[in-house]
């Protein structure tokens, strides 16, 4: 600028404003690109790698695992393989555990009866509390005991940061922080942990987006539910030769839907209430490590399986009691369970579910792990005695007696994926954000989305199928 008087601060800011308008949005990328180019050129001119000129094996592996073309397909295939192994393996131990545990229930009931215990005590303790526990163990333990070690192997190999690397551009694209790919991956373990992990995101706006959307990936507590539904319904709808693959595919599809919702909601938030630019960051890929067998077994079985199971069990015992009471306290000829689920039924039907499932979700707010056991107990609770010692019979109960369809299963999977976080996660959101407003949004927004999506799916399916 060849003016005589030096430009004032105002002049400079004004010109910056007008010049900025003429610039491409990619201005920042161009500068970053120029820096990287120069850095590469300078380093190449000064560095000689003598003995190890060719790339190391891990560099080669990284090039494939984080490649633009292969990165995401490999990731999806890996996840599908994990689900498939879990599904194929889970049925056998489930059967054995159920036989033992429900056998024990009958023995105990017989013992109580012979001792002359009042019917309500026997019922509450054994048909209620104990059965709740038995259901949780029988239904949840097998998929967990197979899924968690597999997941832990992936984690210990150092694959998760690579998976995050594959997805970070997606998050930047929707106006969120790339590190959200990382906190989302943590959410697959536990949403409360994922919410805490959002601390790694410095910008408050992007951190809030990551916290509010963490719930859209299924946590360890919800995976068994999804896998179970995949086994019982999706695999049953296909010929035996491909049934397990179909089941694995359905769980994978749910995960993908979850990631899509994470992105969609992040995008919506960053365009509306949490407007702003995505900030950049550097993700350093840690070296690959040889997984340590002892550590994998410890982490997956003690830290994860037993932890989740313990949480489920301490929630299931009171829940089992509550369900028994609801099923056995009669008001005007109907049990409380029937009354409540009956009043919820129209709402449930509208979203492809039923009143019992919604009731189960209310009872299971403290822990998502117990949703399926709660549903089963409510169905079978009102004196109806059905011995269920395999997943095939489970299907017979749900399809035959309760009129479940593939739509019910799909709706339940979607609802399980999208609905409100468990109470632990809600509490964690409150602690992390310190805001009742954002905590309420974090709890109610997913619930609303779950209802809307399930409603649309159910109505669409009824319209076209």
């Amino acid at each position: 600028m060849a003016t005589n008087a030096p430009p004032t601060a105002g002049d400079i800011l004004e010109s910056a404003e007008s010049l900025r308008r003429g610039l491409d949005v990619s201005f920042r990328d161009e500068i970053v690109g120029a820096i990287y180019e120069d850095a590469t050129a300078i380093a190449r001119a000064a560095v000689r790698t003598g003995r190890r000129a060719e790339p190391t094996w891990d560099a080669k592996l990284d090039r494939i695992l984080t490649s633009r073309i292969w990165g995401i397909p490999i990731m999806l295939l890996g996840l599908a393989a994990v689900f498939w192994i879990t599904i194929v393996g889970a049925n056998y131990p489930s059967q054995a555990i159920a036989t033992v545990l429900f056998g024990l229930e009958d023995v105990a009931v017989g013992l109580f009866d012979s001792l002359g215990a009042p019917w309500w005590l026997t019922g509450f303790l054994w048909r209620g509390v104990y059965r709740g526990l038995a259901w949780v163990v029988a239904v949840m333990l097998p998929p967990m005991a197979i899924f968690f070690p597999l997941f832990t192997i992936l984690e210990n190999l150092g694959y998760l940061p690579r998976a995050a690397f594959n997805m970070d551009w997606l998050f930047k694209r929707v106006g969120a922080h790339g590190k959200q790919a990382l906190t989302m991956s943590m959410g697959f373990g536990c949403n409360a942990a994922g919410v805490i992990a959002c601390r790694v995101i410095d910008s408050p706006r992007e951190r809030l987006i990551a916290i509010l959307t963490n719930n859209f990936v299924p946590c360890n507590g919800r995976f068994p539910t999804l896998i179970l539904l995949g086994i019982v319904f999706v695999s049953a709808a296909f010929p035996p030769s491909v049934s397990t693959f179909a089941a694995a595919g359905s769980v994978l599809a749910v995960v993908v839907v979850g990631v899509l919702f994470t992105l969609l909601v992040s995008w919506a938030l960053s365009r509306t209430v949490l407007k702003g630019e995505a900030s950049s960051f550097t993700l350093e890929l840690p070296p690959y490590r040889r997984p340590n067998v002892g550590q994998i077994l410890y982490t997956s079985l003690i830290d994860r399986t037993l932890f989740v199971l313990y949480r489920a069990v301490i929630m299931a015992a009171p829940a089992g009691g509550v369900i028994w009471l609801l099923s056995n306290v009669f008001v005007g000829g109907d049990s409380l369970a029937a009354l409540v689920s009956g009043s919820l039924d129209p709402l449930g039907r509208a979203v492809g579910l039923d009143g019992v499932i919604l009731l189960a979700y209310i009872i299971a707010i403290p822990a998502n792990e117990i949703v399926v056991p709660t549903i089963l107990m409510t169905y079978t609770g009102a004196g109806m005695m059905i011995e269920i010692d395999s997943l095939t019979e489970l299907q017979a109960l749900l399809v035959g007696e309760q009129g479940w369809t593939l739509l019910t299963a799909v709706s339940l999977m979607l609802f399980s994926l999208l609905h409100n976080p468990c109470s632990t996660t809600i509490w964690t959101i409150y602690k992390e954000t310190g805001s009742a407003k954002w905590t309420t949004i974090g709890a109610l927004m997913p619930l609303a989305i779950a209802f809307i999506v399930c409603f649309l799916v159910a109505q669409g399916a009824r319209l076209f199928l």
Binding site: M1, L13, A34, D38, A45, A46, G50, R52, S203
Partner: protein
């Protein structure tokens, strides 16, 4: 935009990266005593480059740890004396870049820009030099008073990575000192270079990034304006770039007159200072 060559940088032989007793001739570590300093030196670098080891080998093990004003990020300070001059060393948060809005990067950027260090030591991991150069180049856009500390030379040697530090020096336009901070090798050369840059006896000619196409013209136009308003500002182009990107902090610095004070401070500094090169 081509790379400018530095006008004059003292050459020094490669320090021997072998077992032996490191020499700290003329260095007095002052630990937490940072009173009456003559020069302020900033210590920047990526995480895991041995930055703290460099810090300790310069100041001794004691350091004054506080917080950056208004932030929860730890700030370590220490002192050393060399050639009858006292230096205050400020450890900046380890970052990969200075471009994002993260707290750490903001602190590092603000200190180099507004804290006016007489010299910035950029510690890099020689084994992954290319990656580390990204931060180096960004720092050189902000300040021309810098020294590159090629750390972890022993690991580089083990991995078969050889670095032509003289070539690097002429490309970057600042002194480049190979070191093994863990054993103290090269630290004396580092101090000498830092002292030279701080007192102006070593004149640097830092590399400036180029080749970002169409946008370069807008940057040049705005940089010319900034330069006209603040003659002697060593980083007018960087300020222009930040303004074009809409950096609120730099906008505030311009509107609030902070940048003006900065230039005045530069003018008051000893001979050889400033980016008039």
């Amino acid at each position: 935009m081509t790379t400018k060559r530095p006008r004059s940088i003292r050459r020094r032989p490669l320090p021997i990266v072998a077992p032996g007793v490191p020499v700290y001739e003329g260095l007095r570590r002052l630990g937490i005593d940072t009173a009456d300093w003559d020069y302020v030196v900033a210590l920047a670098g990526n995480p895991n480059t041995g930055k703290s080891t460099v810090f300790n080998s310069l100041t001794g093990l004691k350091q004054h740890v506080g917080n950056w004003p208004g932030k929860t990020v730890a700030r370590a300070e220490g002192g050393f004396e060399y050639g009858a001059k006292k230096f205050k060393l400020v450890d900046l948060p380890g970052t990969y870049s200075l471009l994002s809005a993260s707290t750490d990067e903001e602190i590092a950027r603000d200190f180099i820009l507004f804290g006016r260090p007489d010299c910035t030591i950029i510690v890099v991991d020689t084994t992954v030099l290319e990656r580390n150069l990204n931060l180096t180049l960004q720092i050189l856009e902000i300040t021309d008073r810098a020294v590159l500390c090629l750390n972890l030379m022993d690991e580089a040697e083990r991995k078969g990575v050889e670095v032509d530090h003289e070539h690097l020096e002429s490309d970057l336009g600042i002194p480049v000192i190979p070191t093994v901070a863990r054993t103290g090798h090269g630290i004396r050369d580092l101090i000498e270079a830092v002292a030279g840059v701080a007192d102006g006896s070593i004149v640097t000619r830092p590399h400036r990034i180029g080749g970002y196409g169409e946008a370069a013209r807008s940057v040049d136009r705005l940089a010319a304006m900034v330069e006209a308003a603040y003659p002697g500002l060593p980083n007018a182009r960087w300020v222009a770039m930040r303004l074009l990107e809409g950096d609120k902090r730099v906008e505030r610095a311009i509107a609030g007159g902070e940048l003006h004070e900065l230039v005045e401070a530069y003018e008051m500094q000893p001979a050889g200072a400033g980016g008039t090169g």
